[in-house]
């Protein structure tokens, strides 16, 4: 048997993805309605944002366009978790009903196999929204557009995504230990709403929580500082890529440990 490296998994993933998209397209009404829903969700988010800034020209020293940048940044960074890790939402149900056991019989990584099963194509629309917002605010703030800046942007977007994914993995994995874990997952996902504000607007206690306990400040705030405030970058911003990788790894370990502990209901 050949060793199963990254290439093997990429190959499998590409195939599953292609099949999944093909089959999703076959439910055309479902696809169109959910896309419209997604667009309205995003528009309403923008409207709320716009109304807020009609009344306050800036928040704690952050201008409208800088906040918009943060907003777009958070939109893009939650896209991977929505597109690629959406199956985490049904984990609880599958563990409860015992269906989860079917994932344990394949000779491939359990976490990979489970997450590969669902690809949420709607997230791509959100990605387009996010990129548009970043591009717009980027030009309005008058930031330089150099390859280095682009590289920074991409690295920190990946960082932010990793943290969002890690949060959701860990929250979803709680269902291996507790029965009613929906609230944990829901809570974790709601936290992302706070990610689009600069962490400095919160009190010290929350600033501490959002930095070290539920690290949502790393989803948009710390990474954006590198681009928006190049003169006053805190150490935490530079550390965030490593923190992102570490959090992802830890969440993966938690998830796998939970899955190993899982014993299935009788059948």
């Amino acid at each position: 048997m050949k060793r199963k490296g990254l290439r093997f998994y990429l190959h499998i993933y590409r195939k599953i993805l292609a099949q999944d998209i093909k089959s999703k397209m076959s439910y055309r009404a479902d696809f169109i309605i959910s896309t419209i829903g997604m667009i309205f969700t995003n528009i309403s988010g923008f409207v709320g944002f716009w109304i807020l800034f009609r009344n306050f020209p800036s928040i704690n020293g952050w201008s409208y366009h800088e906040m918009l940048f943060l907003y777009g940044f958070s939109l893009v960074s939650i896209t991977p978790v929505q597109c690629l890790f959406d199956n985490n939402w049904s984990l609880r149900q599958q563990v409860y009903s015992g269906d989860f056991i079917k994932y344990c019989f394949r000779p491939i990584n359990l976490f990979f196999y489970y997450q590969s099963e669902v690809f949420d194509i709607k997230g791509l629309g959100q990605l387009a929204f996010g990129i548009g917002t970043i591009a717009y605010s980027w030009s309005r703030i008058g930031l330089a557009f150099t390859p280095l800046m682009l590289l920074k942007l991409i690295v920190f977007l990946i960082t932010a995504s990793l943290i969002m994914i890690a949060l959701q993995n860990a929250a979803a994995a709680t269902c291996f230990w507790i029965q009613n874990s929906f609230y944990v997952l829901d809570l974790a996902f709601r936290f992302k709403d706070y990610a689009k504000y600069p962490v400095t607007i919160f009190s010290t206690v929350f600033r501490f929580i959002f930095t070290f306990i539920v690290p949502i400040a790393f989803i948009a705030y710390y990474p954006s500082l590198v681009i928006l405030r190049p003169d006053e970058i805190p150490l935490l911003s530079w550390l965030s890529p490593f923190i992102g990788i570490a959090f992802f790894f830890v969440s993966y370990k938690i998830w796998m440990r939970g899955a190993t502990r899982y014993s299935g209901t009788g059948s």
């Binding site: 048997m1 089959s23 269906d99 019989f105 491939i108 014993s263 299935g264």
Partner: protein
């Protein structure tokens, strides 16, 4: 000779929270760590040879699924040793998975939205099946079942029978050494059951695949298994040829009659006539069942005697069911 599956003194225990009754009890449970230990599998040993079809029987909750989960590497035994293909399943789950196939009754393992052929192609990649191996298998499938209409149908649109058939084909696709079938014929109609039995039998013969089959359907066992293992309350009760079991229990038949008059009174009266046989009644269907030991009295004699004393409206003759065999073994042990 060492078997393909070797199980030695395997025990599996679960820790279960002692639940108290009522709201107050639930509140107490929140804080107490009062566990009791439940032994799902108790000191089970068996050795299974390559190419065997073994019927693994027992009532619900007997420990069958737990044993299978241990053999597939999902669960770790509390004590004892399991070797499947010479490796410890729990420690090498993915490696073990390459050599086994699993079908869990009503839970399809195929991709719900995909046509069967796409699922097969994905499995081909996941199990790294060679092109020639894949083609050979598809050819074999084509000769055994009418596979064409299934291939291009998404799994979600299939009937339960088609889905089960597809799941079985998928489990054999990578030519595994062992296939575990957990109640494969549950909920299927008679012709589908027959089709599936024929398929399993043919694949076992053709590929020398070892098959572990759990079922509640004695028809499955009769059609497929030469050896059966019976387990109840986690303990192994029987492990031998099916012929041996049949010679022991084959002489039992169940005679069911519908008679005029009050059901309970009639049941009592018949029981009085045949104190040696167990007489039960099914109130909903209004059947009175007499479990006749034909070594003592022929079932037709019993029927003709009953005809003299009762007005029989309807009658049925049944072979002893798996449930009854297991019940009898459990109650009386194996002579």
């Amino acid at each position: 000779m060492a078997g393909i599956i070797e199980i030695k003194n395997v025990t599996k225990e679960f820790r279960v929270l002692n639940r108290r009754e009522g709201l107050k009890g639930s509140l107490k449970d929140l804080f107490s760590r009062n566990y009791k230990t439940v032994r799902a599998v108790d000191n089970v040993s068996m050795s299974i040879q390559q190419g065997e079809i073994v019927g693994y029987l027992g009532p619900n909750g007997a420990g069958k699924s737990t044993t299978i989960k241990m053999m597939t590497g999902v669960l770790e035994p509390t004590s004892g040793e399991i070797l499947v293909n010479g490796c410890v399943p729990y420690k090498n789950r993915t490696k073990n998975a390459e050599n086994i196939g699993v079908v869990f009754g009503q839970r399809s393992q195929l991709w719900w939205a995909l046509p069967l052929i796409e699922s097969f192609r994905l499995l081909k990649d996941i199990y790294q099946i060679s092109d020639s191996g894949y083609d050979e298998m598809m050819k074999l499938y084509g000769s055994l079942v009418d596979i064409e209409p299934l291939l291009h149908k998404p799994v979600r649109q299939m009937s339960l029978g088609q889905r089960t058939l597809s799941d079985i084909l998928a489990a054999f696709l990578h030519d595994p050494k062992i296939v575990f079938l957990d109640e494969p014929t549950i909920g299927l109609d008679v012709s589908m059951k027959a089709k599936i039995r024929t398929l399993i039998h043919a694949l076992n013969k053709e590929k020398k695949t070892t098959v572990i089959l759990t079922t509640h359907d004695m028809g499955d066992v009769d059609a497929l298994c030469r050896r059966i293992v019976i387990i109840d309350h986690g303990k192994m009760l029987y492990d031998n040829d099916i012929e041996h079991l049949k010679s022991f229990f084959g002489s039992y038949r169940t005679l069911k009659v519908r008679v005029d008059g009050d059901l309970a009174a009639q049941t009592q009266q018949i029981q009085g006539q045949y104190p040696d046989f167990s007489v039960t009644c099914d109130e909903q269907e209004e059947w009175i069942s007499v479990l006749v030991d034909e070594d003592r009295q022929k079932v037709l004699d019993v029927l003709s005697q009953l005809q003299k004393t009762h007005r029989i409206k309807d009658m049925q003759l049944e072979e002893i069911s798996t449930e009854e065999v297991i019940k009898k073994i459990y109650e009386e042990g194996v002579r």
